[in-house]
């Protein structure tokens, strides 16, 4: 038994964390939550003075790379990184090799997960076979094996008719359809946001309309079919506007934003730093501002890291050839605290709603609570300490992060799962 003493408990319901002690038994069940729990016999006391106890986060957009790309990340290192970053549940993207496009593959991936992961890792399946955007994948098999969403990850379904069939059919299984918002004919070989920075660096640009047109289309089809749609990695101000208006019209749509798109801009790419090469690309400050506003006003439902590990070697190539994506599971809580919570832009309640409670609700799971009788899933956070994001600090196999070498406010002392 462990007694977490003198901390404050954060939740989605209250802007101010409340003083409270938490007693967790040897089975990882919360035995008691109270203002002061006196010494319990046989319990090890963890002094949480000045610290917060925060419900475990839930990341809707994680690439574990296993099977197929274990040199980048494995399920085991992915789970380790998640725990290290305060994340106690996540959804895997199906863009592995082979892609997860059948009930059997969902099942075998879940078997792998249960062997190596102490946290709840959920599996998504492909919308189309092999993520090729040509024929429907086996929805019923994947649904019966427990896939929580269907997505072709960063491959857009090229044909609107096929997307329509996907949505109509997904509805039969009440499956969430998730898309990444990209128009390949506009994105082409683009590497950064199209604008002054792409011009200055002489890199091919990705225009904002590349994402905006795709999510407009996807929302139209969702509205028409009545399917549940989730949009990944929103990156532009106009995108936020479109989503707000679709929601007003009753479209069944949710969306997520990455911590990077909230707090970094195209200017951060500076001297061809591939640790800032993301898909969609980092945009302008006005886009960041609109995304933060959208998060606060409820247009944006969730934060998701898009944890996309690559080796440092793969990222050491020239900017245009380097792969898109960076790791994110271990830095999201710290970055959001450092940039927003510690500066009073928004509070823990909003952050917990957007990165713990609502992401679980989006895939029809119960939110995690720090309450008596619940399974313990929380982390101890010291707001007065700092954390330096070094290669040694990171547990992921991919020490590729825009925050590498930076010192962020706050420290995740321990994650209880």
């Amino acid at each position: 038994m462990r007694l977490f003493k003198n901390g404050s408990i954060a939740s989605e319901d209250s802007p101010e964390p409340k003083q409270g002690d938490v007693l967790v038994d040897e089975n990882g069940i919360i035995q008691q939550v109270g203002e002061t729990i006196k010494g319990v016999e046989g319990a090890r006391t963890v002094d949480c003075n000045g610290c917060l106890l925060v419900p475990g986060m839930f990341d809707l957009n994680v690439h574990s790379r296993e099977p197929g790309f274990e040199h980048k990340e494995t399920l085991a290192t992915c789970a380790e990184a998640a725990i290290h970053g305060g994340v106690t549940g996540l959804v895997l993207m199906p863009d592995t090799a082979p892609p997860v496009d059948s009930g059997n593959l969902v099942k075998s991936l879940q078997d792998l997960v249960s062997e190596v992961s102490p946290i709840s890792i959920y599996v998504s399946g492909c919308l189309t076979k092999q993520r090729r955007g040509e024929e429907l994948a086996g929805f019923s098999g994947m649904a019966s094996q427990g896939a929580v969403m269907l997505t072709d990850a960063d491959h857009e379904i090229p044909c609107p008719d096929l997307l329509r069939r996907c949505m109509e059919y997904a509805k039969d299984f009440d499956l969430l359809v998730t898309t990444h918002g990209d128009t390949p004919a506009l994105t082409k070989v683009g590497a950064v946001n199209e604008g002054a920075v792409s011009y200055r660096l002489g890199l091919p640009g990705i225009p904002a309309i590349s994402q905006e047109i795709a999510l407009d289309r996807d929302m139209r089809v969702a509205q028409h079919t009545g399917a549940r749609l989730h949009l990944q990695q929103i990156s532009t101000a106009n995108g936020v506007k479109s989503i707000a208006s679709a929601k007003e019209n009753g479209t069944n749509v949710t969306c997520e934003v990455s911590p990077y798109h909230l707090l970094l801009t195209e200017e951060d790419v500076e001297d061809y730093n591939t640790h800032f090469k993301l898909n969609p690309p980092l945009r302008r400050q006005s886009d960041c501002d609109a995304l933060v506003q959208g998060l606060i006003d409820g247009t944006i439902d969730a934060i998701a890291s898009n944890h996309a590990p690559h080796t440092e070697f793969e990222k050491s190539s020239d900017f245009a050839s380097a792969p898109f994506g960076v790791s994110g599971l271990e830095t999201t809580v710290l970055a959001i605290f450092d940039q927003f919570i510690s500066r009073g832009v928004f509070g823990w309640d909003l952050f917990i709603r957007k990165y713990s409670a609502d992401p679980r609700r989006i895939v029809k799971l119960e939110p995690v609570k720090i309450a008596t009788g619940e399974k313990a899933q929380f982390f101890v956070f010291d707001p007065n300490a700092t954390t330096t994001i070094s290669r040694d600090y990171l547990k992921t196999k991919s020490p590729v992060s825009p925050f590498l070498g930076k010192t962020l406010k706050g420290e995740i002392r321990e994650t209880v799962v």
Binding site: Y199, G202, S317, D318, A320
Partner: protein
């Protein structure tokens, strides 16, 4: 000649100070005078090696660097990698390791990907000269263009140059315009809307037509080469239409003559596209001077840069 803190690499124009730019020009002039002599060689780089590493075919720039290096008595190795033989994803870092082992003192590099010269520079002790990287930069072109313009306009400040053509994909447009701007020369741009991006440098004033250009009264017209091989997307309907809208022909040459404007082009010229045969004979064409100044400027750059191999 004034002395200046030496640099290891020349990667772009943006990072050069006016002092450094002046230093290069001050050095280029005596090198150019050397070309009039029967013995065109100086011993400045005797015992040094220059590696010409071209990942994109280029006869002109490559030869220009080769001539520049030889005239300074350096040993030159030409290394042309045909882009088709470079498998995508082949590690640039491995190539750099190999280069490092060759112990060159100077690496002149052209690559289709923006930023590669900078990446090479970080990992080698040799001085790296960017000879063109993607759409990004072509600093020695900018230097030779400016040297050429300054020769005909010693009072270059406040002069106007219009750059015509593919402003979107041209590293020449980026570097040359940036240097003109640094020197206080006004820069106008003319080209199809599909090739004059919104994100271009703020100082690039968009002109809508040749009428507009002549009204503006440029002191020089700089025609960019149309990349006939670069048609991954269609940016204008046809070469004929391009020529009609943006090409230089006798009528426009007549307007140039009235203005007393000079004509520039980075070469090689697509005759009948950017310029007609008749227009090529324009008495105020600086195209050949550009080539000659290219060698002088590249000599000045090699003279100026200080490789870390010097410390060995």
């Amino acid at each position: 000649m004034s002395e200046l803190t030496p640099r290891k690499d020349l990667l772009d124009i943006a990072s050069l100070s006016l002092e450094e730019i002046e230093y290069i020009f001050e050095n280029a002039a005596p090198f150019k005078q050397l070309f009039q002599r029967s013995v065109k060689k100086v011993p400045t780089l005797r015992g040094k090696t220059v590696l010409n590493l071209f990942y994109e075919p280029s006869t002109r720039t490559s030869s220009s660097f080769e001539v520049a290096a030889s005239r300074m008595s350096a040993d030159v190795t030409n290394f042309t990698v045909s882009s088709s033989s470079v498998v995508k994803g082949e590690s640039l870092l491995d190539t750099i390791e190999t280069l490092q082992a060759m112990r060159s003192d100077y690496i002149v590099i052209r690559h289709k990907a923006a930023g590669v010269p900078g990446l090479v520079a970080k990992h080698t002790r040799a001085s790296v000269v960017n000879a063109g990287d993607g759409y990004h930069a072509h600093p020695t072109q900018a230097l030779l263009d400016s040297m050429t313009l300054r020769e005909v306009y010693p009072d270059y400040e406040g002069r106007k140059v219009v750059i015509v053509g593919d402003i979107l994909h041209s590293r020449v447009a980026r570097s040359t315009a940036t240097l003109f701007n640094k020197l206080g020369i006004e820069v106008g741009v003319l080209g199809p809307g599909s090739l004059v991006p919104e994100g271009r440098h703020d100082f690039m004033k968009r002109l809508d037509s040749w009428e507009d250009v002549f009204d503006w009264g440029p002191d020089a017209v700089y025609l960019l080469r149309v990349q006939l091989e670069r048609q991954e997307g269609q940016f204008f309907p046809s070469i004929a239409e391009y020529h009609k809208m943006y090409g230089m022909h006798s009528e426009r040459i007549e307007r140039m003559r009235q203005l007393g404007a000079y004509l520039m082009h980075p070469g090689p010229v697509n005759r009948g596209v950017e310029i007609t045969d008749e227009a090529m004979g324009y008495e105020k064409s600086l195209i050949n001077t550009q080539v000659e100044n290219g060698i002088a400027v590249r000599m000045a750059v090699l003279h100026w840069l200080k490789p870390e191999t010097d410390k060995d």
